[in-house]
């Protein structure tokens, strides 16, 4: 295989880049200049189905959302250990299966702890 490239070989890449950039810039300019402009207080408000806006967006959010998000991150990432195990399932045999059951058992223990602590209760 050809391993040494001349600078001219990268020309298609450059053209593609310019085209992509050019398209974005052109559409932004064109829509900005062609479209009608009407400004009013109502128009600049955030859209809220006709209901008047209340407060700003940075209101405190219930800690429950946060807890569930964190738990999702924790339990979600552990799945990455399942992939190599699944690929080598036959090779690892019974020992691998038992080890994975142990691993899942530990995760389930954590899950049971979460439930008992009442984190998932949504009242």
């Amino acid at each position: 295989m050809n391993t040494s490239y001349l600078p001219s070989d990268y020309l298609p890449v450059l053209i593609q880049l310019l085209l992509a950039l050019g398209f974005i810039v052109t559409t932004m300019i064109v829509t900005h200049s062609v479209g009608p402009k009407r400004k009013s207080q109502k128009k600049d408000d955030p859209f809220e189905c006709g209901i008047p806006v209340q407060g700003d967006a940075r209101t405190p959010i219930s800690i429950k959302y946060f807890l569930i998000a964190i738990l999702f991150v924790l339990f979600d990432v552990e799945v990455i250990f399942l992939y190599p195990w699944a690929v080598n399932f036959k090779g690892l045999g019974l020992t691998g299966f038992i080890e994975m059951i142990l691993f899942m058992g530990l995760l389930l223990a954590g899950f049971y702890y979460v439930i008992r602590k009442g984190v998932l209760k949504w009242e």
């Binding site: 530990l106 223990a109 702890y113 008992r116």
Partner: protein, 468 residues
Amino acid sequence: MFPIVLLSVFGILLLFLGFLKSRAILLPAALLFLLVSLAVNFIDWNKTYLYFNGMLLSDNLSMVFTAIVLGSAFMVVALSGSFMEDESAQPAEYYGILLFSLVGALMMIGFENLIMLFVGVEILSVAMYVLTGSDKRNLRSNEAALKYFLMGAFTTGIMLFGMALLYGATGSFTLGGIRAYAVNPQVGLSLLFYVGLLMLLIGLLFKVSAAPFHFWTPDVYDGAPTLFTAFMSTVVKTAGFAALFRLLSISFSGVYTFWWTILAIITTLTLVAGNITAVYQNSFKRMMAYSSISHAGYLLIGLAALGQQTKQAIVFYSLAYSVATIAAFGVLLLVARQRNAETITSGGSSSESFDAFNGLARQNPLLGFAMAVSMLSLAGIPLTAGFWGKFYMFSTAVERGQIWLLVVAVLMSAVGIYYYFRVIIAMYFREGATAPIRVAPFYRYVLVVATLLTIGLGIAPGLLEGLF
């Protein structure tokens, strides 16, 4: 290996015990679990095994370090009785996290593969972040936790990059593989290797709070609840030095000429920064934080002068240091609580300043004596364990002929005597209005055992010889 498995299971058990109505069972359960782990630790005594596909080594040295770590943890947990009476405390979680963090410490002690080292360091550190911030309503505790977390995660990144570079250079994560590359390079050691070694060292030196990576230590030790400060300054430090010793003595002994100068400079910086700054502190807790930095410096001497005696010196020093530190923090816990109860009405000085100890020895001879012995041991006065710890450390430097390191260390321990004696003078020669403090029986046993151990090892340092 057995303590690691058992501690993981026990930690989960403790979490579930927390669902019971009664909290009274938690402390005895935690102590029992630690004792069982300590006992099973010695099953493999005098045998050397590799566990988990060569991931973890179990030999006499690692078992001795494990015993020191578990023993310190046992003493810290034993001191926790009154601390957990607080309504907002969550003892089940605290004990569970403590046990989990010990798993990390044991992995750092016996690692045979850099993956194991990384996972161990992280288990220990993440647990410590949580415990540092466990006083949720206290802004100082919050701030300490955030600082510790951000800096700890940052250095973890640096340490990982070092590991990755080492892997790139040597093609292996195992200690043996790296050693084979360092001892017998085919085309000379690559630049990746040196940079990787330095970054890995920076990561570990941060964890043991060596200068110039020590800036987090005073803030974190000061802000964390005192009990967990005692845990951090003993268990984390011992585990960190065990890991550093394994890494340097096994993998990198072939390139000793490259790293010893760097380590010697860091040692000097640590000794000077720790001891000199400690002199200017008014808070006892902060003084102990700087003192722990200076003790990291003494322990580093043994590594900078890596030789035959290093192993014994590090074991002895970390044991002497852990025992004395736990006794000191134990007394501080009682005194600070007494002071807090008083100052709520009168609004006096901070409960953790040196003044809090004024006249302590007159009304509470036991507390005064325990504190005095631990201060003497930390200062390295003869007839205490600390003296022999320093003696062994200094003799490693003599063995390697690093006289200037020795001179710095001796000068700095002279500085150290000044601030340790401030406490003793406050306790015995100052007038103070300290009322007698009620000491729970179990608490008293811990203090007595720690004091006896310090004096016993000071009189007969040979007790530990020949153990490993």
